[in-house]
Amino acid sequence: MTAQNDQGEARKRWMSLLAKSPPARLAALTRDMTDWPAFEWLRPPEVGGVMVRGRTGGTGAPFNLGEMTVTRCALRLATGEVGHGYVQGRDKAHAERAALIDAMMQTKRADALRRAVLDPLATQMQADKASRAAKAAATKVDFFTMVRGED
């Protein structure tokens, strides 16, 4: 049961990573992969909208903020594993890559894929985030007291 939960958590992490990844990055990291497995579509890639919700006051009752574009697909490898792709934006090839990787992560190629694609992708995205945070940090205000009004 725990192993299954761990597996579920791990899958949630890689699917989230793939969903948020810039399409060009994922394409570049998988460009040299020539041995994509054979598959059949369970759901061909489709572009749709997801209604994003917020909360009143940030913590209160939910409200509808607006939609975002999402592309999703599902496929089954010839070996039986089912892969789902949910990615931000409208890039169908990106969704297909995400679904293929999701399926292949359930096979014995998982470790190799993790090293070649998922880990570098996570590292690059983390670096982008860190770079933004470092620029924000440079704009943090240091107050210093000019006069203190105590007698």
Partner: protein, 189 residues
């Protein structure tokens, strides 16, 4: 989730759904006329025509009621993947699916309001046979009269009396589809 619940969707969703929508539209516009609907396969006991109707008319924003014999884990999984419709009790249903004998009392389904007559349930009723014989139908969309093998008479007459409120019905059997909107008069043949 079992694997077979992931198949059985339309092969070419935009085109197949457009054809199915046309058939669904014609069925309601010409009550009693029998249309053919193919291209979808849901888990037992759903007919291909009913499966195509679900794929065409329902989505994540249309609460769906399943009568007990249709409320199976396999069908719930199939709906979750292909449609995403939430499964609800009759009073919140925009669509309902079941065999006639298996459905709860029709009074439990919303019939719309005076401001919004469209906020009512459309029922998809699975029959063992569906032919252009039986109850006599007259009204909008029917030049003189039509006949349809309805499973009953009185409930549809009562529904007609609610107009402009009321329920709308599809009947399915295999790949056959017929419609009975709330505007049709129903009499014993």
């Amino acid at each position: 989730m079992r694997d077979d619940t992931l198949s059985g969707g339309f092969a070419d969703p935009p085109v197949d759904a457009a054809h199915a929508f046309r058939a669904a539209l014609s069925a309601l516009a010409r009550p009693g006329r029998i249309e053919t609907l193919t291209g979808a396969q849901a888990p037992e006991p759903v007919s291909p025509a009913a499966a195509a109707l679900l794929l065409t008319l329902c989505d994540a924003e249309t609460p769906l009621f399943l009568a007990p014999l249709h409320d199976t884990p396999a069908l719930r999984d199939w709906i979750a993947f292909h449609i995403g419709a939430p499964i609800t009790p009759p009073h919140a249903a925009q669509f309902a699916l079941g065999r006639w004998s298996d459905l709860p009392p029709l009074q439990g389904f919303p019939i719309g309001t005076a401001d919004y007559p469209d906020r009512s349930t459309t029922l998809i009723i699975e029959l063992d046979r569906l032919t252009a014989q039986g109850a006599r139908l007259t009204g909008p969309g029917i030049e003189t009269e039509a006949h349809l093998s309805l499973p009953d008479i009185a409930p549809f007459r009562a529904n007609r009396a609610l107009f402009p409120l009321g329920l709308d019905f599809y009947f399915t059997c295999g790949t056959s589809l017929a419609g009975l909107p709330r505007s049709t008069n129903v009499e014993d043949a």
